[in-house]
C-alpha cells in the first residue's frame, strides 16, 4: 500500500507499523518524533500503530539551532 512520508509517496506492506517503517528507513525510533495524520504519537505507540493506505506521516527530529 502507499503512504505519504515527509511529503513523498512510499510503498509499504499492509499492516506495516510505525516502528517497522522507521527502522526500514535506517532511523532509530527513540530519535524520531512522529506525526501521523496530524496526531502526534507517543514513543510507546510506535510498535503497535499500524499504517493505512494514504496515511500521512511526518518524521521529525532535533537539529542544531539557536
Amino acid at each position: 500500500m502507499k503512504i505519504i512520508c515527509n511529503g513523498e509517496e512510499q510503498e509499504v506492506r499492509t499492516e506495516c507499523t510505525v516502528s517497522e517503517l522507521i527502522v526500514s528507513l535506517g532511523l532509530k525510533p527513540e530519535t524520531v518524533v512522529v506525526e501521523c495524520d496530524a496526531v502526534i504519537l507517543k514513543l510507546d505507540e510506535y510498535p503497535t500503530r499500524q499504517l493505512h493506505e494514504g496515511s500521512r506521516l511526518e518524521l521529525i527530529h532535533f537539529v542544531g539551532g539557536g
Binding site: G7, E8, L27, T31, E58, H61, F62, G64, G65, G66
Partner: protein
C-alpha cells in the same frame, strides 16, 4: 546564581547548537562555554540524507534542552512545534519564537503573545524571543512566561545591542529573568548586556562561526562573568563633565 522556573543555573551563558562545522566542534565548544542550557530546533528528517542525531552528542544530564519554535510564522505553527518538541522528549521548556518575515527574522509580537498564553496554560515553561519592547515584555510576564528574551539585534547579524535603552527599561520592570538573545557578536556585547543587569545571554552564531569556536566559547564565558561581576559591584555613574582622577590640590609648587 540564576533561577528560572525554579531551576538553578550556575552559568549565565546559554548556548545554541546551530551552524557549527561539525557535531564534535559543537560539543567541545559547548563544554568550553560552561553553559547548562542549549537551544535545539525541530525539523523534518531528510530521508535521503539523515543528519547525525545531535541528541546523542549532548549529555542530557549536563544540558537542559531548550527546544525552539524557529521556522514558525504564526502562533498555530509555534504551538504545533512546541507539542512536537515535548513529544520528542525535549521536556517542557520552550524558546518561543515566531518570525513571519524571513528577511529580518524579527519576531511577531501579536502571534508570540497569543502562543505564549496558550502554551503557558498547557504547562510549558515559556521563554519568548521578542523585540526589545518593554510593554510586550510586561504583557508576556502577565500571561506567565518564565523569562523574557529581548533581542540585541536581528538573529545572526553579530551587530551587538542596538536596543540598549529599551532593554534597560525591560530589565528595570522585569519580574522574571531577562535573557538577551540574538545579535550578540562579540564578548564585549555580552559583557555590556550583563553590565546593565541582564540575567543571562544566549549566544549561538558568534561562537559557532568563529575561527576557533572552542576558544571563542571560553571568551564569551569570561565576558559573561566579567559583566555580571561588574553589575554586582555597582558601576560608577556616567558624567558629561570631566572629573579628575588625581588630586587637584598640592599643585602650588608647579606655579
Amino acid at each position: 546564581m540564576l533561577t528560572i522556573a525554579g531551576r538553578i543555573f550556575h552559568s549565565r551563558l546559554f548556548g545554541g547548537t546551530g551552524k557549527f562545522s561539525s557535531p564534535q566542534v559543537m560539543k567541545d565548544a559547548l563544554e568550553a562555554s560552561g553553559c547548562e542550557m542549549v537551544t535545539v530546533a525541530l525539523r523534518r528528517i531528510d530521508l535521503k540524507n539523515p543528519e547525525d542525531d545531535i541528541m546523542s552528542m549532548l549529555d542530557r544530564q549536563r544540558y537542559l534542552f531548550l527546544p525552539n519554535t524557529s521556522g514558525a510564522r504564526d502562533a498555530n505553527e509555534a504551538v504545533r512545534l512546541a507539542h512536537l518538541a515535548r513529544a520528542s522528549g525535549g521536556g517542557n521548556w520552550l524558546k518561543l519564537e515566531v518570525t513571519p518575515d524571513p528577511r529580518t527574522l524579527l519576531p511577531d509580537p501579536v502571534e508570540t503573545l497569543k502562543a505564549a498564553e496558550e502554551l503557558v496554560k498547557d504547562d510549558f515553561i515559556v521563554l519568548p524571543y521578542i523585540n526589545a519592547d518593554p510593554i510586550l515584555a510586561l504583557r508576556l510576564q502577565d500571561v506567565g512566561t518564565a523569562a523574557i528574551m529581548p533581542l540585541g539585534s536581528p538573529i545572526g547579524t553579530n551587530q551587538g545591542i542596538l536596543t540598549l535603552p529599551q532593554i534597560e527599561i525591560i530589565i528595570e520592570q522585569a519580574r522574571v529573568p531577562v535573557v538577551v538573545d540574538a545579535g550578540l557578536g562579540a564578548p564585549s556585547h555580552v559583557a555590556q548586556a550583563m553590565e546593565i543587569g541582564a540575567d543571562a545571554v544566549l549566544v549561538n552564531t558568534a561562537i559557532a562561526v568563529a575561527g576557533d569556536p572552542v576558544k571563542m566559547a571560553r571568551a564569551f564565558a569570561q565576558a559573561v562573568e566579567a559583566g555580571r561581576t561588574a553589575f554586582e559591584s555597582g558601576l560608577g555613574k556616567k558624567s558629561s563633565r570631566a572629573e579628575a582622577s588625581s588630586p587637584q590640590v598640592g599643585l602650588e609648587f608647579l606655579r
